[in-house]
Symmetry: C2
Subunit: 290 residues, 2 copies
């Protein structure tokens, strides 16, 4: 999975509206009628974002969960979702998973579109949320001197994926049924200087936060809380899909939820990221890029 | 192209939120912070919603236009769009068409998602609008006694499609570069009892309006203004993609924009639709169903 940076950069160049953080920052933030709306849109493609072994009920759940995770990272509460659905086999399973996710997270389905596709199916979801704190956290606000924290674990989705695809034995749920940390995101929003969800891997996402904040982030890899065996620590830091919240906050902040301190924000140095004292100059090999 | 009614019905059953008109009525209507938001989502699939001959610049334009047409039918002004884009060939052409459409209609790109797809590409767009009139028009409000009107022409997209695919000679633009009637929709909103855009064909959409309003709609087919030769009138009434506005209003209403009276709303009779005195009991053969 390789980015097409020219296209993305061109899209960003098109997105000149002040609300248009959605291409660089997972969610758009829009002031309207005295409220601050947060809008996210994530797509999932058959054979790319889910393996053949995964049931469509789980795919539906995940489609909802990954979008709500983007809202969680903004401290936003969900208002509703719009579904884009490609009809095909196992529609009933998709519906069941969709119903479970919407019920579990208390989010209404507002509308959407269905289409017939001849090939791989693509599902998309737009989630609309209401910000609960201003300013709305972004990945670009981390100042030198702050601590780097992780709320949640990493590695569980990797273990779950391996179990699902017959490569290991573990609970599949962290991969198939991730939980967006909505309550934690809302609780944290007033306390953080920067926040994002870890969707593509802890290291690549930390690298993005450092780039957006124009700082260097130093990570102590042994401090990262794992949902995987210690022997898999290196892999767990590079695997995505865990939807933990990565954030920065003042070192003396009294945090309202449990979070592990995993690093420090420094003034911009030789590179964006330093892991256990080693510089990492680019995003190559750090995680899932798209 | 056949519906999967069971799935759609199940989705609608899931959409129990008062704002969830989006599955039955093209757009969701959401009260938030003293504003009324209108949300629409349309997808376009390669090989289904556009022919091989169509440039991706035109596809991008159309993706924006069809969503804005849903806002037009609600009398809403666009606030922004979120794009779901499958990367592939001719991304630059897509970008150019997207830029032209956003510039022409004065709508900002707020964010979105890009994915890689191995097969047919699916694009999706969510448009966010702000209602300018309350109540927001829907397709369900037509009362017996009102007149049925059309703002815009039908048949032009059919002629354009035929020209594009080498079957005829005509201006391709009505098919490739449709114009959402945003100003007309806003002007009409305070005057209409029901309104929708004609996306799938005049007859099928009139049938849907009659069903939603629990009335019978009688159409005088000779009164329908055409952008096609008279000999093609029957086809033009069944072809979609014209994005005219179909609405009902009191017979003595002073309409702020040009519109043709093409029929009458009656109390629910033998069937939902009567064309030139003939009953049409079901939607079969009336237009594009999806």
């Amino acid at each position: 999975m390789v980015d097409e940076p020219a296209f993305i950069q061109s899209l960003r160049a098109l997105a000149t509206h002040p609300a248009a953080r959605g291409l660089a920052d997972d969610a758009a933030v829009l002031e309207i009628g005295g409220e601050t709306l947060v809008l996210t849109k994530d797509m999932m493609v058959e054979g790319v974002h889910w393996p053949r072994e995964q049931s469509l009920a789980d795919v539906a759940w995940k489609l909802v969960a990954v979008n709500l995770s983007d809202l969680a990272a903004k401290g936003a509460e969900p208002v509703g979702v719009m579904l884009g659905y490609a009809l095909g086999a196992n529609d009933a399973a998709f519906l069941e998973g969709l119903r479970e996710a919407l019920d579990t997270f208390g989010v209404p389905l507002l509308g959407g579109d269905t289409v017939a596709t001849p090939g791989q199916r693509t599902f998309s979801l737009t989630a609309i949320g209401r910000a609960t704190h201003a300013p709305v956290p972004s990945r670009g606000g981390a100042p030198a001197g702050d601590g780097l924290y992780l709320c949640g674990l990493v590695g569980g989705a990797m273990m779950g994926f391996e179990a699902l695809t017959g490569l290991g034995e573990a609970d599949e749920a962290p991969f198939t049924r991730p939980t967006p940390l909505l309550a934690q995101g809302r609780a944290l929003a007033p306390h953080v200087s920067a926040m994002m969800d870890v969707s593509d891997g802890l290291l690549i996402d930390a690298w993005r936060m450092a780039q957006a904040s124009k700082v260097t982030i130093r990570i102590d890899s042994t401090a990262v809380p794992l949902a995987a065996p210690e022997a898999r620590r290196g892999d767990a830091l590079r695997w995505g899909d865990d939807y933990a919240l990565l954030f920065t906050a003042s070192s003396d902040a009294s945090l309202p939820v449990e979070a592990a301190r995993i690093g420090t924000v420094d003034a911009q140095g030789e590179a964006a990221l330093q892991i256990d004292g080693e510089w990492l100059s680019g995003p190559e090999g750090l995680g899932y890029q798209h």
